[in-house]
Each structure stands twice: as structure tokens, then as C-alpha cells.
Amino acid sequence: MTKGAVIPKKGTTEKAILDFIKEAWEKNCFDSLLIPVEIPSGDSYTYLLIQDPSLIENASPLPPITSVQGARAISSITRKGKVTKRIAAIMRPCEIKAGMELHKLEQADLENVVLISVDCPGALPLSDYVPDSKTGKEKFLKVLKEWGGESVRPVCKTCLHFGAELGDLHIAILGDENSIYLIPNSDKGKEMLRSLGISAEENLPGWDTKISEIKKKKEENKKKSEEQLESEVLGLDRLLETFSKCIGCHNCMRACPICYCASCYFDSDNTEHDGTDYVDRAENKGALKFPCDTLFFHLGRMSHMSLSCLGCGSCEDACPMSIPVAQLFSFVGQKNQELFGYFPGMDKEEKVPLVVYKEKEFEEFEDSH
């Protein structure tokens, strides 16, 4: 059974989370805070890194959308130069997981960062929320109440890590209506609660039950949507059809928290050819689509990042052609991850399989000739 601390709410869930954060800040548990804040125009959110505690008043620890994936924010802050402040970061579980992957890939430095995750009801698609944020806010209230529903992004409907104990400290908001629960998940998290004089020894059966109920529902969603996806994308012809609308903008790659390369192979002059090469290819096939090699890009990107793919959905949010790229990538990603027995973002110490060498591995895939 999960153990944690039960903190009574005074007001809304968001307020309860912020009250706890404020108290931790006052008691010097960290120096600055990374947290989502609504932008002045009111139709989106951004991450803010703040050291002035009064700025916390506008913060939204449970934003209805993910605009920039939080791991990208963590990487931007910690990748270059010594991090001399203790930073607390509040994010969705999939953002925390991506942050852990970037740490392993040496694109983020979590040494001075306390990662705080919150139970996640899912996020609305950017394309739904931004044009009409008023309706979006109403929709999200319903999502929070029903914990899911039809208006969240497809990958959120099938996400099983919405309440995972991740990072250093997890804030559970699903347990009961009158409290939030604090569940430490690392020495840093335990230390934070200890310095606040909070004991995390209470059993949380209510939360465990809720999580497993919702998980069961999501597992059913997942099974159904995977069957649907397989029928749509399996085989080269269907795959080509799926990506036939791709215009090669590479938004998916740039929104992806794992695709960290400053200059992608697929944007490099390695993918530049003589004019006659294109003409010859057109000659062989009768016609050559432009931009060409779009499927090569997607499969290449998939092979580069799928072991670390968390199914966060940012790629799909950024795709101007609404290609189900997150659904596809997380589906294939999870299959690859299972093969290696690797679960990205769960354990900071576990190495990414591509940096581990085993002499004997996957012999069943070897060519017997």
C-alpha cells in the first residue's frame, strides 16, 4: 500500500497545491520555482522560472494544456552552465519522465532540481484549446471531475502513468475531495517533507483504489485504440498512407522533449542530394513526391528516440496536418521498450539501452545464415 502525508485542503485543489509549495518555499526547501502560468492573453500557458514568491499567485499547477513540454524547459535551464540555485519544478508525470530521460542523455542536470509531479487528468489538444480557451476551461473542469473523458488528447486517454510516483515528490489529488496527499519518491522528496515536519507514514488506500480503477478503464481504452491503430498503420502501404499528408515541417521533432539535437540529421546536408538523384528516382517510380523521404524521416526519428518515448503527445499537438504521430510513436516505443525491459523516465540510475553493451542479446533476431 502507498504511504504518504494527508494534507487537508483549504479551497480548490490548485490552491492546496500552491499553499504547500508556498510553505515549502518559505521554509527554504528551494530557491526558485519552475511552474506553469497563464499568459496575459489568456489562451495558453507558459513555464515561468521565478524567484519572486509573489509571482506564484498567477501560477497554475494543473494547466489544461501542455504548451512547451516541461522537460524542454528543465533542459533549457540546466543544460548549460553551473546550476547554482535549488529549483523546484512542478509538472505532469510525462514531463517529469522526459526530464529524467534528458538527464540520462546529459541534456539536463537534475542535481539541484526537485521534481514534483501531480496526478494528471490528461491535457486538451492545443488545437482545441487555443482558438476557444473559454470553452476549453469548461471542458477541462469536466475532465478534472470525471478524470478523463473524450476531450483529452488521444495519448492521454490511454496513459497508464497519470498517477505514477515519479521524480522526487508526488502530489496525489485523486484520493479524497478534502485533501491532497504527498508521496515522497526519493531522498530529496523525503528530506523536503522532513524539513517541513510532515510525516509521510499514513496509508493511502483511497488513492490506491482510485488509481487502479482509472487504470483499468484506461487499459481498456488502450487495447481498443491499439487495435484500431494497428489496422490503420500496419504494413508499408498503410504507413505511407498515414504519412502521405506530411509536409516535412519537422514540428513533431522540435516539440519532442527527447529529440534534443540542435541540428537534426534529417535537416543536415547528409540528406541533400544532387538534382540527378531526384530525377533518377522519379524516373524509376514514374513520379516522386516532394518533399521526399518523409517516411524515412519519421522512421529514422522513431529509431533514434523511441526507447525514450514517453507518449507525452507534444508531437501530435504540434503537427499542422493532424497526423496521429504521438499515438504511433508511443505504440511502437512501448513495444521497443518492452523488448529491452526498459521503462523510460522511471529510474534516474538505469541506463538508456543504447549506451549499454551486451555481447549476447536478441539472438532471436540474428540472421541464421
Partner: protein, 368 residues
């Protein structure tokens, strides 16, 4: 007086007949135009070698999946084409490619250029919801009435350069008889030569200047409305923040922009990466800082890099996942920059881009 080819077919079929004639009679070795493929009917550009593939082409389909200039640059970046190619592209795509050629990112050699009077294109979002086909009838009705179709991209509605510059052939796709007859104005000897032996009537003629002039006037007033609605004059920093605050930093606007040709953008380079000390400095000054930072710097920087060559094609707006009206901003500011230098991008291949020329005495009025 120019020569005009007349085909007794609607324009969509007529242009395909021309392209097929060129390819079958080996006047060109390939054709570059829009083609419809697959079960979901995705419309993309294609380089076509097999004449039977022309049947799948939709040269006048009102959609710009990408600005063709980008693909033409891919095709000719390393070397000019070694065999002749007929291309059918929209006027703004041609203008963008002319800019790229000036910027040494491509070559027009061995290209036979076909373009048309342009009725504009629908936003990509319409293709996503598969609604373009449903709107086609409405689109062509508007073009027959010499009107601007509703729901086309905002910058298309306000585009006055819908007559192509630098095309060898100009297809008349706006006018009352376009469903019955296809008129192609042959602007160059090269065009006339390429159609030698075609079994269709070629006679003296010109574009219906009056109709085009009246459409141009309406487009200009539409553009003025578009520009004044944007209200950049009263912006200040708050206005800029309101407009760009929702940017997610995907830089899709830069990657689809035909003018943004750099392989590695300054704004994606390590030079522009903040580092923790600059975060610390900003927090000290302002209490807090947006992460990732420098959103407006990126957009203004890109504007200063491409504004002089911006043709207002609208691709940037099309790919923005959060609907920032980028193409309107870029066209408005771009027009102002271009006006200052008296430069119209993509019109004259021999005129250098102002940034490539140096004049000792220039724009003195801006000096302090």
C-alpha cells in the same frame, strides 16, 4: 502582342493537356506540379516523369501543402538541372524561388515556368479535415465571377501579386469562361517554341486587363483591412507579448518559410542558448522569466532576416499550431521594409536584394 493558346476545355483539364503535350513530345523531360495520391487523397507536389501520371495531377488545386520554392531549391541547390523541367507553381511560389535563386539557393536553368492568375489557396487546416474537395465548387464559382473565394488564406485575400512575374506561360484561371475554355498566355519565345505542333489554336491576344485591375483594387482594399485589423502601430511590448505569448517554440514557421533557408538557424544554435547564469540574471532583474526564453526575440529576429524577401505566401501561418497570424505580421512589416528600399521581392531576377548592395548614402532620414 503576345500569343495565346486556346483549348476548348475547362482550365483544370486544359493545363493538364499542356503538361502532357510537353512531356509526351519530350519538350521537357519532367513536370513538377501538384498531384493527388492515395486513399485519403493527399495533395502534394511531385516530380513527374511518366506522362500517364499527369492524369493524377491537380495543378490548380487550391492548396499549398508546402511552398514549391523549397522543393525547387532542394532539386537545384547543388547544381542546375541537367535536363529540362516544366513547373506549374503559384505566383508567390515563383517569387519565393526567384528570391532563393538570388540568394544562391537554387537555379532557374532548364526550367520552363508555367503559372497562372491566382485565385488563392485554402488554409492547410481545411485539408486536415478533408473539406477542401467539398469547397471546390464554391471556389471555382468565385473565380468565374472574378471574386475572391471566401475562407481562403488571409494573405491570399489581400494579395495583389496574383499575376505571375517571370513565367513563360500564364494560365488564365480567373474569368467567366474558365469552365469551358482554357487560355494560356505565352510570354516568351521559349514558351511558343515548346508548344510547336500542338493541335490547338494559338492566336494573338492578351490578358483581360480590366478584370484583373478591378480584382487587384479589391484585393488591395482587403489587404489594407487585414493590416489595419492587426493594429501593429499601437502594439508596444505588451501587444507583442499578447500576439506571440502562446508560441510553443516549434519554429515550424521558420522551417516551412521558403526564404528561411539556413540549415541551422541562429535561434536554434548554441550561441543563442541561455545558460543558467543568464536565467539567474533575468530572475534577479525581473523576479521571473519565461522558459524557454527569447520568444519575441526569435520572431523579431526572423522578421529582420526575411522581411525584405517575404512574399506573403502564408505557409508560416498554416503550420503554426497555436494560430499566431504570422503571415499577416510578416507581410505587413515585410511590405513596409520593401517599400523603404523600393524593392519588390521575386519580380526582377537581375535586381539584387538590398542587403547584398551597399550604397554610401542611403536612408539618411533614419540617421540621428
Amino acid at each position: 502582342m503576345a500569343k495565346v493558346l486556346k483549348i476548348n476545355k475547362g482550365v483544370e483539364e486544359g493545363v493538364k493537356e499542356v503538361l502532357k503535350f510537353l512531356l509526351e513530345n519530350e519538350r521537357v523531360k519532367g513536370v513538377f506540379t501538384l498531384r493527388k495520391t492515395g486513399k485519403n487523397g493527399a495533395v502534394t507536389y511531385a516530380l513527374i516523369k511518366d506522362p500517364s501520371e499527369i492524369d493524377n495531377c491537380v495543378p490548380l488545386y487550391p492548396l499549398m501543402p508546402i511552398n514549391a520554392a523549397k522543393s525547387l531549391s532542394t532539386l537545384t541547390l547543388r547544381e542546375p538541372l541537367s535536363e529540362s523541367l516544366a513547373l506549374f507553381v503559384r505566383p508567390c511560389e515563383l517569387r519565393a524561388f526567384v528570391e532563393l535563386v538570388k540568394l544562391q539557393q537554387g537555379s532557374l536553368e532548364n526550367m520552363l515556368i508555367l503559372s497562372s492568375t491566382c485565385g488563392g489557396v485554402y488554409p492547410l487546416k481545411m485539408a486536415v479535415t478533408n473539406n477542401t474537395d467539398r469547397n471546390l465548387e464554391k471556389y471555382w464559382t468565385s473565380l468565374r465571377a472574378i471574386e475572391t473565394p471566401s475562407d481562403i488564406r488571409p494573405t491570399c485575400k489581400g494579395c495583389e501579386h496574383f499575376l505571375p512575374y517571370n513565367s513563360d506561360m500564364t494560365l488564365v484561371s480567373i474569368g467567366k469562361d474558365i469552365d469551358k475554355s482554357c487560355h494560356v498566355v505565352l510570354n516568351t519565345k521559349k514558351a511558343e517554341e515548346s508548344l510547336r505542333g500542338i493541335e490547338e489554336e494559338i492566336s494573338d491576344g492578351e490578358l483581360a486587363a480590366e478584370d484583373m485591375e478591378s480584382l487587384r483594387k479589391r484585393r488591395i482594399s482587403e489587404r489594407e483591412k487585414l493590416f489595419s485589423d492587426l493594429k501593429t502601430e499601437d502594439f508596444g511590448l505588451d501587444g507583442l507579448i499578447d500576439l506571440h505569448g502562446k508560441c510553443i517554440g516549434c519554429h515550424g514557421c521558420s522551417s516551412v518559410c521558403p526564404i528561411c533557408y539556413c540549415r541551422l538557424c541562429f535561434f536554434d544554435s548554441e550561441v543563442n542558448e541561455p545558460g543558467f547564469s543568464s536565467y539567474e540574471g533575468e530572475m534577479r532583474k525581473r523576479g521571473g522569466i519565461r522558459v524557454p526564453p527569447k520568444t519575441i526575440f526569435y520572431h523579431l529576429g526572423r522578421l529582420s532576416h526575411v522581411g525584405i524577401s517575404c512574399v506573403g505566401c502564408g505557409s508560416c501561418s498554416d503550420v503554426c499550431p497555436v494560430n499566431i497570424p504570422l503571415s499577416t505580421i510578416f507581410l505587413k512589416i515585410g511590405n513596409a521594409i520593401q517599400g523603404t528600399y523600393g524593392y519588390l521581392p521575386g519580380k526582377d531576377l537581375d535586381e539584387k536584394i538590398p542587403l547584398q548592395t551597399f550604397e554610401e548614402e542611403e536612408l539618411a532620414k533614419f540617421e540621428q
